[in-house]
C-alpha cells in the first residue's frame, strides 16, 4: 500500500466551508413556521417549587404554549445514568440525574422550571418574564466541603446527605511504603471549576412532520446516535422515525455529550404536540448555568520518597464536586485517580474520593475530564519533593519514569472504561530529552534574574524589557522554566463504525457515526481512506453526525474519534480495496497481484494500456439488468466496526518559560514547547492544531478563568466581560515535536490527542512561576488553581513575609 496521505501535513478539507461562512450550524437551519423556545429558569440555587402561574404569559400575543413539569405527564423522567460506576470493591454510589423541568424542587440557579414557546424568540423571552414562579427559598450549599459537613442542607432529601459516592482504590501497601520513606511530603490542593466556553453555544431544532411521521432533530450534540435512540424510546417512535443531525459544531469539549439536556428532551415533544418546528439557541448567559461545567476538586495528598527521589508511594484523598446531579457517574473522579499515576512507576498507591452534590450547575467532563487535577497533584508533589531533596526537577521525573520495557504496564486499579488501568505502550525519556533541548532547560536551574531583596523595580537588572505596552522603561521581570510530564488514557471503547462506498463518479463517500466539532475528521478520516483506495484526499466526501446515514455508534469523547472511528474507516477501506481488486481482476482477466490502484484507476503492472477507472468499476458492480452470482453484494461498498480492547495511553511533556513581573504578579509566557506522543500521526497539522487549542484552553484554566460563585450559589461573573478567557495576546506561539510509540491495540497504531494540550498546563504554570520567584519570594508554593495576578500577588506577599514555609 502506498502511503501518500497518512502522516502528511495537509490542509483540512473542511476549512473552505468554515472560513467562508458556508458551513451549516444548527442556527443556520431555518425552517418555515418555526417556533422559538425560551426557558423560565430558577433564580435560586435551592428552593421548593410551590407553583407556576403562566396565565399572563399565555395571553401575550404570539405565545403558543407554556409547559411545566406537570404538563409532561409520563414523559417527565430523570435522564439516564450515562456511565454506570466501575465495579470498584466497597463502592458507594447514588445516581441522581437531571430532570427535564424542575418539579418539586430547584437545585441550582438556572435550572429550568418552564418552557415558553412563541412565534419569535423575542416574544418568548418577554413571556418568560410574565410567568410567575412561586419558589420557597431553602438554604443553599455551594461549597463542596460545606456540602459534606454535618448539618448541611440536603439537596436530594431521600439520600439523607449530599454524599453521591465514595470509593477507594489501592495498589500495594502505602502505609508500609511510607514507613520506609526518607521523605514524606503532604499538601492540600484545590482545583476550581470553570466552563467549557465553546464558541458556539448549544442549540436544538426539532421538526415533527405529521404526514411522514418523521421527527428530525438538529442538535449541537457530540453523540447524535445515542440521542436518536433515546428520543425514539422516550417518544414511543421507531428509531427509523427519528433522525438526529449534528451538523458543523463550534466546539464540543465534553459538555455537548451530556445527555439529555432538558431542551433535547422537550423540543421534540413540543414539536410533536404543536406540529411545528421548534428552535432553541442557548445564549452565553444561559450557558453559564445550563451547560455542564467541570473541575472542582479538593485534594489532601502525600508522597513518600526515597532520598534519591524514587517514588515509594502516593496517597491522595479528595472530594469531587458533581453539582446538583451526577449523570456521568464516576468518570471524572476515576480519571483523576488513574491519571495521577502519570508516566511513573508508583509501587504503592492509596486513593480515596468522595463525590458531593452541591447547589451548582451539573458537572460532567470537559476536555481533560478529571485528568488535569490528577496531573496537577502528582506533578506538584514531585516538584515540592525535588525541592526538598535538592534534586533537579527533570531528574526526579526521569528517575521515576516507567522504562520502555515495562509495557504493557498494569497499574492494578480500574479505569473509567471499567477495564484495568493498563498502559499499552510508551517511551517517556526521549520526550523529556526533546523538551529539555527545545526549551533550553538547564538542569542546575534556569537563567535567573538578579536575586530579590532590593526593590524589584530597580532598572537595569538582568530582566527583560517589559513588553506589555505599559511603557518603555526597562523593568525587571523574573524568568522561570517549567517542565512536566503526563499521560492521557485515550481512545476507549466500546466501538465505532464506518461505511466506505465508491460511487459511479469515481469519488468516494465515507460515512461514520461519530459527530465532529472541529477536530478535522473530514480530513483525517479521508486521508486514511484515500490511501487505501488510491484516490485524492479531496475525492473522499466524509459524512458524520447524521443518524440517517449511519445507524450505529456512540460519540465523540475521550479523545477517541481518530482511534476508534479512524480504525473503523481503515477497516472498511481495506475491505473495499479488496472488492475493487477482485472485481477488476475479473473484468481485466488479470491476477489480483498484478494490479495496482493509483489515482482512481486500477492498472495492470507492465501493461500501460490495460486499466479500468474506479467509477466504471462501481457502475459494473451495480448492474441494472442481467444475472449475478448468487450471494453477490452490489457496489463497491463495505461497512466495518472497530472496538479496542481498552484505551491507548498517549503521553507527553510540556515545557515553558515565563517571566513574572514581581511587583504586579503579571505573568507572561515567553516560550511554550509540547513534545507529544499520540502514537502514529495521521496529520501533524491537525494534531498541532488540537494541541494549540488545548494549550490555550489550559492557559485559561490555569491563569484566567474562574467562576466567582458566592455561598448562595449565585454566580457573579456570567459573561465574557468578567469570566476571562485567554485572548490572542495571552497565548504564545507553541513549538511542537512528535514522538511516535504506536499503540499495539489498533491496526493503525493511533492514540488520541484531543485533550492532551489542556491537561498539564496548570501543573506547568505552577512550576514555572515558582521557579521564577524562587529567590524573590522564597518558599512560595502554588497549590490552588486557577492562579491569577491577584492570587499570585497574595502568595508573593505571604512568602516574602515568611509565611511561605508553612506546611513544609
Amino acid at each position: 500500500m502506498s502511503s501518500r496521505y497518512f502522516g502528511a501535513r495537509i490542509r483540512r478539507n473542511e476549512d473552505e466551508a468554515l472560513l467562508t461562512g458556508r458551513a451549516t450550524f444548527v442556527d443556520d437551519v431555518q425552517l418555515p413556521g418555526t417556533l422559538h423556545a425560551a426557558f423560565v429558569r430558577s433564580d435560586l440555587a435551592h428552593g421548593l417549587l410551590r407553583g407556576v402561574d403562566a396565565a399572563a404569559a399565555l395571553e401575550r400575543p404570539g405565545v403558543m404554549g407554556v409547559f411545566t413539569a406537570a404538563d409532561l405527564g409520563e414523559y417527565w423522567q430523570p435522564g439516564p445514568l450515562l456511565v454506570p460506576p466501575a465495579p470498584i470493591e466497597g463502592l458507594t454510589f447514588h445516581a441522581r440525574t437531571q430532570v427535564p423541568l424542575a418539579r418539586e424542587k430547584v437545585r441550582h440557579v438556572g435550572e429550568p422550571i418552564a418552557v415558553v414557546v412563541a412565534e419569535s424568540r423575542y416574544v418568548a423571552e418577554d413571556a418568560v418574564e410574565d410567568v410567575i414562579v412561586d419558589l420557597e427559598p431553602l438554604e443553599a450549599v455551594a461549597d463542596v466541603r460545606a456540602a459534606l459537613a454535618e448539618g448541611a442542607p440536603v439537596i436530594h432529601e431521600d439520600l439523607g446527605s449530599n454524599l453521591a459516592a465514595h470509593a477507594v482504590q489501592t495498589k500495594g501497601d502505602y502505609d508500609a511504603a511510607r514507613a520506609t520513606a526518607d521523605l514524606v511530603l503532604g499538601r492540600d490542593f484545590t482545583y476550581d471549576r470553570g466552563v467549557s466556553a465553546a464558541m458556539e453555544n448549544r442549540g436544538v431544532l426539532a421538526q415533527w412532520d405529521e404526514r411522514s411521521a418523521q421527527l428530525t432533530v438538529w442538535d449541537t450534540t457530540q453523540a447524535p446516535i445515542p440521542i436518536r435512540n433515546g428520543l425514539a424510546s422516550m417518544l414511543g417512535l421507531s428509531e427509523s422515525q427519528v433522525r438526529v443531525v449534528a451538523p458543523f459544531i463550534g466546539g464540543g469539549f465534553g459538555p455537548k455529550i451530556m445527555m439529555f439536556y432538558p431542551d433535547e428532551v422537550l423540543l421534540p415533544w413540543i414539536s410533536m404536540r404543536l406540529d411545528r418546528p421548534v428552535k432553541w439557541i442557548e445564549d452565553r448567559f444561559e450557558n453559564f448555568f445550563s451547560t455542564t461545567q467541570e473541575r472542582g476538586q479538593l485534594h489532601e495528598a502525600e508522597i513518600a520518597l526515597s532520598s534519591d527521589g524514587r517514588i515509594l508511594g502516593v496517597k491522595d484523598v479528595f472530594v469531587h464536586d458533581t453539582g446538583a446531579y451526577d449523570p456521568y457517574g464516576l468518570t471524572l473522579p476515576i480519571n483523576t485517580q488513574c491519571t495521577l499515576l502519570g508516566p511513573y512507576d508508583v509501587p504503592n498507591y492509596y486513593s480515596e474520593f468522595r463525590v458531593a452534590f452541591t447547589n451548582r450547575p451539573i458537572v460532567t467532563p470537559i476536555r481533560g475530564a478529571g485528568r488535569q487535577q490528577g496531573v496537577f497533584i502528582m506533578e506538584r508533589l514531585l516538584d515540592l519533593g525535588a525541592r526538598e531533596l535538592g534534586l533537579d526537577r527533570a531528574e526526579i521525573r526521569r528517575r521515576n519514569f516507567l522504562s520502555p520495557d515495562a509495557f504493557p504496564h498494569d497499574h492494578e486499579i480500574l479505569f473509567q472504561d471499567f477495564a484495568p488501568l493498563v498502559y499499552d505502550s510508551g517511551d517517556y525519556e526521549p520526550a523529556l530529552d526533546k523538551a529539555i533541548e527545545l526549551i533550553g532547560y538547564e538542569p542546575e536551574g534556569p537563567v535567573q534574574s538578579e536575586p530579590g531583596g532590593a526593590s524589584p523595580a530597580e532598572d537595569g537588572g538582568e530582566g527583560t524589557d517589559g513588553e506589555d505596552g505599559e511603557g518603555s522603561s526597562r523593568r525587571k521581570r523574573l524568568r522561570g522554566t517549567g517542565i512536566v510530564s503526563y499521560i492521557e488514557g485515550t481512545g476507549i471503547g466500546p466501538y465505532e463504525g464506518a461505511r466506505v462506498r465508491v460511487e459511479a463518479s469515481g469519488k468516494v463517500c465515507l460515512v461514520t457515526g461519530v459527530g465532529t466539532q472541529g477536530q478535522g475528521h473530514f480530513t483525517s478520516f479521508a486521508q486514511i481512506v484515500a490511501d487505501q483506495l488510491g484516490v485524492g484526499v479531496t475525492d473522499v466526501r466524509v459524512v458524520t453526525g447524521d443518524t440517517r446515514e449511519f445507524h450505529w455508534g456512540t460519540g465523540t469523547f475521550a479523545s477517541r474519534g481518530a482511534v476508534v472511528a479512524g480504525n473503523a474507516c481503515h477497516a472498511a477501506a481495506v475491505a473495499v480495496r479488496e472488492k475493487i481488486l477482485r472485481k477488476a481482476s475479473e473484468i481485466l482477466e488479470v491476477a489480483e497481484e498484478d494490479l495496482m490502484l493509483t489515482e482512481g484507476v486500477v492498472r495492470v503492472q507492465g501493461v500501460p494500456d490495460l486499466s479500468i477507472g474506479l467509477g466504471e468499476l462501481a457502475l459494473r458492480s451495480n448492474p441494472l439488468r442481467g444475472a449475478v452470482e448468487p450471494g453477490t453484494e452490489p457496489g463497491l461498498e463495505a461497512t466495518s466496526y472497530f472496538g479496542p480492547r481498552r484505551g491507548a495511553t498517549a503521553s507527553g511533556v510540556h515545557a515553558m518559560v515565563v517571566s513574572v513581573d514581581p511587583e504586579t504578579a503579571m505573568v507572561e509566557i515567553e516560550r511554550y514547547v509540547v513534545v507529544h506522543d499520540c502514537g502514529t500521526v495521521i496529520n501533524p497539522l491537525i494534531v498541532e492544531g488540537q494541541i494549540h487549542g488545548g494549550v490555550a484552553h489550559g492557559i485559561g484554566n490555569a491563569f484566567y478563568e474562574e467562576l466567582d460563585c458566592d455561598s448562595e450559589g449565585q454566580l457573579h461573573n456570567a459573561s465574557f466581560m468578567d469570566y476571562l478567557l485567554p485572548t490572542a495576546t495571552d497565548v504564545p506561539p507553541i513549538r511542537t515535536a512528535h514522538i511516535e510509540t504506536p499503540s499495539p491495540l489498533n491496526p493503525l497504531g493511533i492514540k488520541g490527542v484531543g485533550e492532551a494540550g489542556a491537561i498539564p498546563v496548570a501543573a506547568l504554570f505552577a512550576q514555572a512561576v515558582e521557579d521564577a520567584l524562587k529567590e524573590w519570594a522564597p518558599g512560595l508554593e502554588v497549590r490552588d488553581i486557577p492562579l491569577s495576578p491577584n492570587r499570585l500577588f497574595a502568595l508573593i506577599e505571604e512568602a516574602r513575609a515568611g509565611g511561605g514555609e508553612e506546611g513544609a
Binding site: A457, D459, S472, T664, Y704, M721
Partner: protein, 327 residues
C-alpha cells in the same frame, strides 16, 4: 437572550437638531455615540430610554485640530482615530496611549472619546442581566435601595472605569458642553462628582461637543499607566496619568497626577507636588510620591478583583510613571 427594549432612533443632521430632540424627549432620551457602552447596558436593562439621539454623524462633534494654542478634539472622534492622529502623538502622547489601551480594536473603532468621558460607572452588582440583578436583589444604582458593596451604604460607589479622563485631568483639559440653554465649558477636573449613580455634572439631555487641551509647553513630560488582567479587552483595574515638567537641572517644577478605576470618579492625586517639586526624580523622591498616592487610595469591592492587590498596585504604577518621565 439579551434583547433591546423598543425605542426610536433619531439621526439628527446637526447639533441644534440633536439638542432639540434631547430637549423634546427629556427624561426619556439618551444621546448615543459609538454605543459600545450604552448598547450592552440597554441589553442589561440598565437604561431603557424611549428615544436615542445619534451623535456620531454631527459635524460639530468632529475634528482633531490645533486652534489658539489649544488642541480641540471633537467628542465623536473615535478612540482609534485619536490614538493615531499626528497632532495627538506630537503634543499629548499619553492620550494616544490611553486611547490605544481601551478594550479591543473593534471597540476602539466604534467607541468615541465623548462616550469614554461619559462612560457609565461599573460594578459587579450592576453590570449584570436583569435576571441576575433580580435574583440577587436590586441595588441603589438601579431599581433598588441597598448597596451590596458597602452594606448599609447610602451612596453608590460603582467604579469609574474610563481610561481617558485621568489623562485629560493631568493635562488640565476642559470639555465643551452644549444644551438648549447654550454652551458652557467645564474643566475635566470639575466634571465628575462622587455619586456613582450619575457621576458627571451634565444633564442627560446635554451634549459633550469637544475636548479642549491646552497645548503643553515644550518640556512637559507625561505617562499613562493601566493595570488590567489581560493585554487586551479589559477595563482598567486601576489607571494613572502623570504630567510633569522639569527644569534644566532636572528639578521638578510641576507635577500633576490623576487616577481612576478605584472609586466612582477620576481624581487628581493631591499633595504629590509637595513631595516632588524642587527635587530631582531620584528613587527616594519617587518612593515618597508613590507613598503619598498610596495613602490616598482606598479601593472598594466594586469589581471582582481583590482590593488589596489593586491598592498595592497604586505605588507600583506611580513609580513606573515617574521613572518613565525621569528617563
Amino acid at each position: 437572550m439579551l434583547r433591546l427594549h423598543p425605542y426610536i432612533y433619531h439621526r439628527p443632521a446637526d447639533l441644534d437638531a440633536a439638542l432639540e430632540l434631547l430637549d423634546r424627549h427629556a427624561g426619556d432620551v439618551l444621546p448615543i455615540a459609538g454605543g459600545t457602552d450604552l448598547v450592552p447596558n440597554m441589553k442589561h436593562k440598565l437604561f431603557t430610554p424611549g428615544h436615542l439621539v445619534a451623535l456620531s454623524r454631527l459635524d460639530e462633534l468632529k475634528g482633531i485640530e490645533v486652534v489658539d494654542q489649544r488642541l480641540r478634539v471633537g467628542a465623536a472622534e473615535s478612540l482609534h482615530a485619536i490614538s493615531g492622529h499626528p497632532a495627538i502623538l506630537e503634543h499629548v502622547p499619553a492620550l494616544a496611549t490611553a486611547c490605544s489601551e481601551v478594550s479591543s480594536p473593534q471597540l476602539r473603532r466604534m467607541g468615541t472619546i465623548g462616550g469614554n468621558i461619559c462612560l457609565d460607572t461599573r460594578c459587579t452588582y450592576y453590570n449584570q442581566t436583569l435576571f441576575w440583578r433580580k435574583a440577587l436583589g436590586y441595588c441603589l444604582k438601579k431599581d433598588g435601595e441597598i448597596c451590596h458593596v458597602v452594606p448599609g451604604g447610602t451612596r453608590c460607589v460603582a467604579a469609574h472605569s474610563a481610561d481617558t479622563p485621568p489623562v485629560l485631568m493631568s493635562l488640565d483639559a476642559s470639555v465643551e458642553i452644549a444644551g438648549t440653554a447654550g454652551v458652557r465649558t467645564l474643566p475635566v477636573s470639575n466634571l465628575f462628582t462622587s455619586d456613582g449613580i450619575w457621576n458627571r455634572r451634565m444633564e442627560s439631555n446635554e451634549v459633550l461637543v469637544a475636548v479642549h487641551i491646552p497645548l503643553p509647553e515644550p518640556g512637559l513630560r507625561m505617562s499613562f499607566q493601566k493595570l488590567r488582567p489581560r493585554a487586551s479587552i479589559d477595563f482598567p483595574l486601576l489607571n494613572l496619568a502623570v504630567a510633569a515638567r522639569m527644569d534644566d537641572e532636572g528639578l521638578v517644577t510641576e507635577l500633576r497626577m490623576a487616577m481612576s478605576a478605584l472609586g466612582s470618579y477620576p481624581r487628581r492625586v493631591g499633595k504629590v507636588e509637595e513631595a516632588a517639586v524642587g527635587n530631582p526624580l531620584t528613587p527616594s523622591v519617587i518612593d515618597a510620591v508613590a507613598e503619598q498616592a498610596f495613602r490616598q487610595c482606598h479601593p472598594l469591592e466594586n469589581i471582582i478583583v481583590d482590593t488589596d492587590w489593586r491598592r498595592a498596585m497604586v505605588p507600583v504604577l506611580v513609580r513606573r510613571a515617574l521613572k518613565e518621565i525621569a528617563a
